[in-house]
Each structure stands twice: as C-alpha cells, then as structure tokens.
C-alpha cells in the first residue's frame, strides 16, 4: 500500500514528506556532546539520530606501518533505535556501514596517522570511532559518516605521560587533513533520490554511496540494493552525490 503510494508519488517527482528528489531532511550537527569522550558529535537527519564518540587509546602499531596510528570504526545498532534491532553481535548491514564509513575516512587520508606515532613499532595512538544509533529512520550511512567526521574534527589528543593517559589534559587537536562526505543516491524506478528515509529505503532498487573530499576527489564508493545499474546511472549518481556533499559539508 504505502510502498505503492511512494512509487506513485515518485512518478510525479514527489515524495511523502513533500521533499524534492534531491533534497535532504533537516540536518542538525552538534559537536562535543559526550564530555568524557576525546571527541564526539550527534547528527540528526530528520528523525534519524546518531551519536559518534571518539576514544583515543594506546595501541601497538601494525607491523607493516610501525610509525602510524591506527583507526577503527564500529557501529552499534542499539536496540533502543528500532523495533527490529536486537542485542547481539553486529549484523551484516551494521558491518557494511562500519566498513563504508571506515574506508571513506581511511582512503581519503582524513587523519594524519603518522602524527599519532609515540614510539615507532611499539606505541601509537589508536583512534576508535564508535557510532551509536539512537533512532533509525533511514540513511544511516550518510548520518554515520557525517557524525564520524564531525567527531574527528572535535577530537583532542590527551596527554600521555609515564605510561599513562591523562584524560584531563590535552596536547592538541587530532590532525584532520581531509573531510570526506558521504552521500548515498538511491534509484527507484527511473528516479534518483537522496536521503531516502526508512520507508523509501524499502522500495529502493539500487543505491550508490559516494564519499567526496573537499577537493572534489571521490575517495570511496559502494553499490547496494538488489538491482543493477548502468554506467549512465553511475555517472549521474556520482555527480549528484558530489554536488550534495558540498551542501552537507557546511554542517561540519
């Protein structure tokens, strides 16, 4: 029923909540919402609500990058956020989102990881981004990605002295070099929309997530959905995504 109505509207370039096809829901970004985290941000896109917290921990570097800090991104589909979420290990969808966000940040060289080395080969800062979904009303990828970058920009590096982290004193800000912004473009029938909400996501044929850097470079893509896309689709979707990313970046 509802699905059919969404499709009917789309044929007329209309959406349930009156938005244009290329229009986001209202976006709110609040940084520094978790005092005890080294960095944090809460992002709301419409009713979708997500908190990103960044913790800095001492880690052993990977053997092949002995002078670089580490990055780990994790998402929790907290059961408070949706009737279908249940406690337990991350689902396939949660894992995909965490990896898409992680790759967007990693591949864009967003963080200057070499600045996070303390003792080469032995001790480096580990940057842990934890995403906590508070309410899920669609488009978790864009919200997660935006919250992560906002939280990184908000992150301070604590003092490290005598093998202890002093979390009340800071030596500086996390060196953030780039701000990749993720915008998912969804295809339904022959229409392209951005920021599909939960109901729309259920009728999406295929989507393309594109992360664009402030210098216009694309740094990560992921196709989703059960239908195929043509090169023409993809060209259009990259264009639209890059265009919208500029709009979203203003919220940082």
């Amino acid at each position: 029923m509802r699905a059919n109505y969404i499709l009917k509207l789309l044929e007329k370039d209309e959406r349930l909540d009156g938005r244009k096809l290329d229009q986001f829901r209202p976006i709110a970004v609040e940084k520094g919402v978790i005092e005890r985290a080294e960095g944090s941000a809460r992002v709301k896109i419409g009713k979708t609500d997500i908190i990103a917290g960044v913790k800095m921990e001492i880690e052993t570097p990977f053997p092949d990058t002995p002078n670089e800090g580490t990055l780990k991104t994790n998402i929790e589909f907290a059961p408070i956020a949706h009737p279908d979420f249940s406690p337990g290990p991350p689902s396939e969808d949660a894992t995909e989102i965490a990896r898409v966000v992680d790759r967007g940040i990693r591949e864009s060289n967003s963080i200057d990881l070499e600045k996070l080395c303390l003792v080469e080969g032995e001790k480096v800062w580990g940057v842990f981004i934890d995403l906590h979904v508070i309410n899920h009303d669609g488009n978790l990828i864009d919200a997660s990605s935006l919250a992560s970058v906002a939280a990184l920009m908000n992150t301070k590096i604590p003092k490290y002295e005598d093998n202890k982290i002093i979390r009340t004193e800071f030596v500086g800000k996390l060196p953030v070099l780039h701000t990749p912004i993720n915008v998912v473009v969804s295809k339904i029938l022959d229409k392209y929309i951005v920021d599909a909400d939960k109901e729309e996501e259920e009728v999406v044929d295929a989507w393309l997530s594109v992360a664009t850097r402030e210098d216009g470079y694309v740094c990560a893509m992921q196709k989703g959905g059960s239908k195929a896309l043509s090169l023409k689709d993809i060209d259009y979707m990259i264009d639209l995504s890059s265009k919208k990313s500029k709009e979203l970046r203003k919220h940082l």
């Binding site: 978790i34 005890r36 985290a37 917290g53 059961p79 408070i80 991350p90 842990f128 934890d130 508070i134």
Partner: protein
Amino acid sequence: MAKIKGIELIKDGKRLDGRKPFETREVEMKVGIIPNANGSAMVRFGKTTAIAAVYGPRLLLPKHLQEMDKAIIQCRYNMAPFSTDERIKPGTSRRELEISKVVRLALEPVLFLENYPKTTIDVYVEIIQADGSTRVTSVNAASLALADAGIPMKDLVVALSGGKINGQLILDLNGIEDNNSEADVPMAFMPNKKHITLLQMDGELKHEEISKLINEMFKAGEIIYKKQIEALKNRYSE
C-alpha cells in the same frame, strides 16, 4: 577504577564538586526522545546520562520462551564504548549482565504483567556517558520510558544512590566518589508507598548507617519523583 590513597573527598562539609552531603547533582529528564520506540526517556544526573527505550508489550518469540499467564520483561543495560575514560569493547560484561537483572527487578513490582500473557516488554537502556550512579540513572530513565509507553504502572520507580566518603554519609555519588567511597548503596523505590525494589550495598557500613541512608534517599527521592512527573507532563503538553 582504583581507589586513590588518602584522597580527601569532602572538606569543610563540601564535596569536590561543591555539593553538600545530601545534595544531588543537576538532574535533567526528557521523555519521548526516540520516535521509533513505544516509550523513551533520557535522564541525566550531572554527566551520567542514560537513554531508555521500551518496545512492547509485543508477542514473544520463539514461542517456548512465552509465559502463558503473564508478560516477561527483557532488560538490557549497556554502556556505549565512548561513555567512560577507557573505551569499552562491545559485548556484554558480567557487570552489565548483573545490572540488567537488577534494573529489571527494580521495575517488575510496579507492572501488571498478568495483563499481557505471552508477550515481552523490552526495556533497553544505553549509558551514553558514565560518571557514577549509572544503574540508578537507568532505573529513572526506564521508569519514564514505561510510563511514556502507556503501560499501566502501580507507581513510578524513583532511584538514586547513597554512600559514605571520608566517614560522611552522602547522596548521588559521582564517578570519583564511587571509586573511592567507603560504601555505595544504589536504591530504587516506589515513591508513594516507599516500597524498595532495588537495593544493593558494597563497602563497610553499620546497620544504623544503612537505615539512615535509606531514609535520606527516601527524602531526596521526593524531588526526583517530582522531576519525573514534570518530565511526563512536558511530554504531553508539547
């Protein structure tokens, strides 16, 4: 969570954050913050922040878990990885498992479970930031979320913590007090009849100190009760 040797937590009758012994931290309560949930609430005591959501009563599956004559409560208390100084790895610790149980038991006496056979009432609490007294903050949030979900309750459930530092009984322990206290007593109760639904104690207390603390918690609970009522009113006057 080490005890700091010889730390002076109270001086000239004032605690490190300036509070008097029986003064609680700033308390903030907000109802209806999660659109998807049947009921939800955020409760903050100082920096300690809990978000609770209630889903249900809904049919419990798989079937063999159903109780034929009443609803069950499924409760999960979970700390966000970024809620404390050191990152918490995802997954349920023994501490979280135990707190999930005591929070559930703190709520059970106020519900009419026999009204909803074969169903589950799911109560999920996320600690978004932790600075002591997380389990009682959780109970307050869950109490509001249940009320917000429209589930009939005999009474609300009010919770707070008491304890003892440097020989002085106090209320509403923050993180540093919690770690260095001589005793820590989380409690939850139904405010109208003063019926206690959660009571734990760790540390060293004489029996009469316990009784005195409970009475002080009853008193301070009145204020928390009013905040709960107010938060519920705000929800419906929005």
